[in-house]
Amino acid sequence: MAEKSVNRRLRNSEVDQVINRGGSSPSASDTKKERIFNLRVPDELIVKVDALRKKRTGQVSRNTWILEAIEDKIEKELS
């Protein structure tokens, strides 16, 4: 049993060595972090948004459309 546990520890250290030869993932501060949350939107508003999205050239997702709206609002309030 003890021998098994020593072998397992040795094996784990070998595994750790191989894994640690890889680079680290960038920390949150290195990447453009996004937050994901649920947004409650009245149905009639989504219908309007979707109608506007359809008028646009190419495919504009709801997510992109809402992000654009947020940016417009920020710009408006800051000016």
């Binding site: 070998e14 894994i19 640690n20 890889g22 680079g23 680290s24 993932s25 960038p26 996004e34 997702s61």
Partner: protein, 215 residues
């Protein structure tokens, strides 16, 4: 089965492949999609799918980093039929941790010389991983292939000649449908405007990976 969608070059289509396989497999099995890529695109895909299409089959998704990938999957993997790990386009601890416990590494390559030049580094990574996980099967496929042209054939020839990395004989062509589906949190066969060729390509990959069709 634990599958890593990996490689050491970004932009090869790993997330597209990981999410398409996760969704299709979720029609019949319990699937865990692990987002081990710092860009977290697989998590965004899952979030769109869950919020906009809750009526469709869903899978579980978690974000894991570095050694966490191995540690948490040691505990979690047995609760699911299949685990699919999406990694970033670099030789990271996250990817290595996934590979240390995986059954299969799926390596998408685009038919361009810059992608092919990374093969040597992939082989070096694999040699290291095989010392701790000798049963890992490495499989390549051609992704974002040209509709026609010599580049596909050249790349397939190189991929077929590698020792230790099996060429799956699956090619996914560069089609708009893939981008459209991912942006909506859908797999290719769930698109309203169907692309039958793309559907066939993804099904061929599914069949190769899981050894079974969707019937």
């Amino acid at each position: 089965m634990i599958i890593v969608c990996g490689g050491i070059k970004g932009g090869t289509g790993k997330t597209t492949i990981a999410t398409n396989l996760a969704v299709l497999r979720a029609f019949k099995k319990d699937v865990l999609l692990v987002d081990a890529d710092e860009q977290e695109s697989a998590t965004i895909f899952t979030s769109i799918r869950k919020s906009e299409r809750p009526d469709l089959p869903q899978f579980t998704s978690v974000i894991l980093r570095d050694e966490q990938v191995r540690r948490e999957l040691d505990r979690l993997a047995s609760r699911y039929d299949d685990v699919i790990i999406d990694t970033g386009g670099r030789d990271t601890r996250s990817q290595r941790a996934g590979l240390s416990i995986a059954d299969m590494l799926l390596l998408p390559f685009n038919p361009r010389s810059l992608d092919i030049w990374t093969i040597e580094n992939v082989e070096t990574l694999l040699k290291d991983i095989w010392t701790i996980n000798p049963n890992l099967k490495a499989v390549s496929l051609l992704n974002r292939a040209d509709v026609q042209g010599a580049d596909n054939a050249d790349t397939i020839e190189i991929l077929s000649s590698l020792e230790g990395i099996v060429f799956s004989n699956v090619s996914l062509v560069n089609r708009k449908a893939y981008g459209r589906a991912v942006a909506q949190g859908l797999t290719i066969s769930e698109l309203k405007q169907r692309d039958l060729k793309a559907e066939q390509e993804v099904l061929a990959l599914f069949q190769y990976v899981f050894g079974t069709g969707m019937e």
